[in-house]
Amino acid sequence: MLSIKNLHVSIEGKEIIKGLNLEVHPGEVHAIMGPNGTGKSTLAAVIAGREGIYEVTEGEIFYKGKDISEMAIEDRAREGIFLGFQYPVEIPGVSITNFMRTAINEIRQYKGLEQISAANFLKDMEEAKKLVGIQSKLTNRSVNEGFSGGEKKKNEIFQMAMLKPDLAILDETDSGLDIDALKVVANGVNALKTDQNATIVITHYQRLLDYIIPDFVHVLYNGRIVKSGGKELALELESKGYDWLKAEA
């Protein structure tokens, strides 16, 4: 589904990702771990297509067999890539309902489908809300405006449930969450998992991986994946920290 080969990314001339390789297949859950400042969020943003300060200097990103290097952000989303933001953006004046309806209809239009009916949209909304335990009033509010940290993260998973992506990248979705909110978010992600879609969970701590069980764990350090393994690698990192890997790298 996703195949990244020898990816190099610079921010303002400084190389952040230095030759990264990653293969993700349908039905898999990958965790990318690593200390702060090693390029985890940069990787997530670049897969989603963020331009501006991010410059891909070398390498390829293939998604569903297509090179998406030149593909616009919105087209990547329409093709099924979803980025759960570490810091979801507040958009005063735009209601979540309208935001989601606009997004869904643009995606449907891209795929040559009719606009979603009001009834189906409402039904999907209800299911997605239930999934992450959002009270109904949340959906009448402006996107993320005045939301608590937990609400913002729940709202990301709510959007994921609405858009049903093929590849979800969750960037530090656990940061700023208490244990109850963490469970809600993790349950949501697990419930959305099928053998057709894939999830990349980016996290700093092992804690989230108690609830979202990864098939693969990768350690990102200094712009490259320095170690990959199964879910037990996360536990090893938890007990040993990252220093032994730094020494190895």
Partner: protein, 471 residues
């Protein structure tokens, strides 16, 4: 130099016109009004029109508009039997208003220009009111429209003969909003000066919608003065809608005087216009007044919009809140000048001021100058101004959900403007303004098809891929 000469030329022409036509200009006036006119003319002689050296006019170049030749009429320049309904019709669904129409600055009415209803509410022409209600006019006309504010105000006070007169007695709640419409339709360049006078008695309330429209593309210079007296514990809900052709110049000076416990909400919505200058003077002339002064301007091409707000906290325990937002496209230019004066005795004043702008191009310009002048020591005041582009983080967020560039931008711009639109308290008007803002943002609002609220052709159904009605 050329413009300077021409600029002087229009001023000189008006002075000459005044001298040559005193009898005609004064024909409806009491001696009190005549004296006020003469005094105003003296001030105009000294002040003349503002130019780029005039403080508060530095960022608005009026010289080109003043350099043109205009026809000026001392009597209505149209047939008495104009059927204004054929020229425009209000087509806002469910909006019930009482319409007060002016054509080229002159009052139009078929039944004697003045009406008085059972509650004692008088509506009609200022020229008529001068004759029939001279004591009311004398006690208010020209009193708060201070000649020294600008040459335009002085010239208007000297010349203006007609305009709208509204009188609401004490203890009357006017149920139906009043809608003042000034349509400009002329086949030559025209200079218009009208003067509106609104008096709201104690404990009364009024909703007033003031529309400035044009139905052709002729050049016009309009110098309007509106004086509004809001009595003790009275309330006024005021809207100013501006959708004018690109060749028009509008100088719109409004003076509000609030007595004790009075409440004012005024909202200026500027959708199109060549050069628009709104001067709002709000005097909180008694304790415990509240004034909400808001505006939104969406300008493109080479349009110029200038909002000058002056709020005078003359008494203690008053609240004022200013919120102006603008989206400036192409090489358009916006100016905001907000001055809040808190006088020495105006303790416990709460005064807030915000001006936010989005510039869509490199050539779009905004000059914003928030200004607080505080002489009391126990007050809460704040001001803030921002100028920015569309937020890149927000754009990325919207796009990452599959929303394309165009709709993402639309959503963000609409959301930006909506903060002001949401304060419109006449629901059908809000819905319409909402639609117009959406059309305006999509570049589909045409002033030849329709003026702000009136049009002879049915509008097309607005279909949005974004259902902004649910925003």
């Amino acid at each position: 130099m050329e413009t300077k000469t021409s600029h002087t030329a229009l001023g000189q022409k008006m002075i000459q016109t005044f001298e040559d036509n005193e009898k005609l200009i004064f024909r409806n006036d009491s001696s009190t009004i005549v004296d006020r006119r003469k005094k105003a003319m003296e001030i105009f002689r000294e002040q003349r029109f503002p130019d780029s050296k005039t403080e508060n006019w530095r960022n608005t170049d009026i010289s080109k508009a003043l350099a043109l030749d205009y026809n000026y009429y001392l009597e209505p320049g149209f047939q008495k039997h104009v059927d204004i309904d054929k020229m425009f019709q209000c087509d806002i669904p469910h909006l019930q208003t009482k319409m007060i129409s002016q054509l080229n600055g002159w009052f139009i009415s078929e039944n004697g220009n003045l009406t008085k209803d059972v509650q004692g509410v008088i509506i009609g022409s200022l020229a008529g009111a001068k004759k029939n209600y001279s004591e009311l006019v004398d006690a208010h006309y020209g009193l708060i429209a201070d000649d020294i504010k600008s040459g335009f105000v002085a010239l208007n006070n000297a010349f203006a003969e007609d305009g709208v007169f509204i009188y609401v007695p004490d203890n009357v709640e006017v149920k139906v909003p009043l809608q003042m419409v000034n349509i400009i339709n002329h086949d030559e360049n025209i200079f218009i000066q009208n003067h509106n006078l609104v008096i709201i008695g104690e404990n009364s309330s009024l909703q007033l919608v003031q529309c400035d429209d044009s139905v052709d593309h002729q050049r016009s210079l309009i110098n309007t003065v509106t004086e509004i007296f809001v009595g003790k514990n009275a309330s006024l809900d005021h809207y100013k809608l501006q959708n004018k052709n690109d060749n028009s110049t509008l100088i719109n000076s409004i003076f509000f005087d609030l007595k004790r416990d009075a409440r004012l909400s005024t909202n200026a919505i500027t959708l199109n216009g060549g050069l628009i200058r709104n001067e709002n003077y709000v005097t909180l002339n008694g304790e415990n007044c509240e004034a909400n002064v808001m505006g939104v301007y969406l300008v493109d091409k080479a349009q110029h919009v200038d909002n000058q707000i002056f709020i005078d906290h003359a008494f203690p325990n008053c609240r004022s809140n200013e919120l102006f937002k603008g989206i400036i496209d192409d090489s358009a230019h916006a100016v905001f000048n907000g001055r809040i004066l808190v006088r020495k005795d105006a303790q416990h004043t709460n005064a807030y001021q915000t001006n936010k702008n989005i510039l869509l191009t490199d050539k779009a310009t905004v000059n914003t100058k928030p200004f607080l002048e505080i002489y009391a020591d126990d007050v809460k005041c704040s001001h803030g101004a921002t100028i920015g582009q569309i937020d890149e983080n927000a754009m990325f967020y919207l796009k990452s959900r599959g929303i394309g560039e165009h709709n993402a931008k639309m959503l963000l711009m609409y959301a930006f403007a909506a903060e002001v639109i949401n304060n419109i308290r006449i629901e059908p008007l809000k819905i319409r303004i909402d639609d117009m803002v959406k059309k305006r943002l999509r570049g589909e609002l045409s002033i030849c098809e329709q003026c702000v609220l009136h049009c002879s052709t049915m509008e097309k159904e607005i279909k949005f891929e974004i259902d902004l009605s649910k925003v």
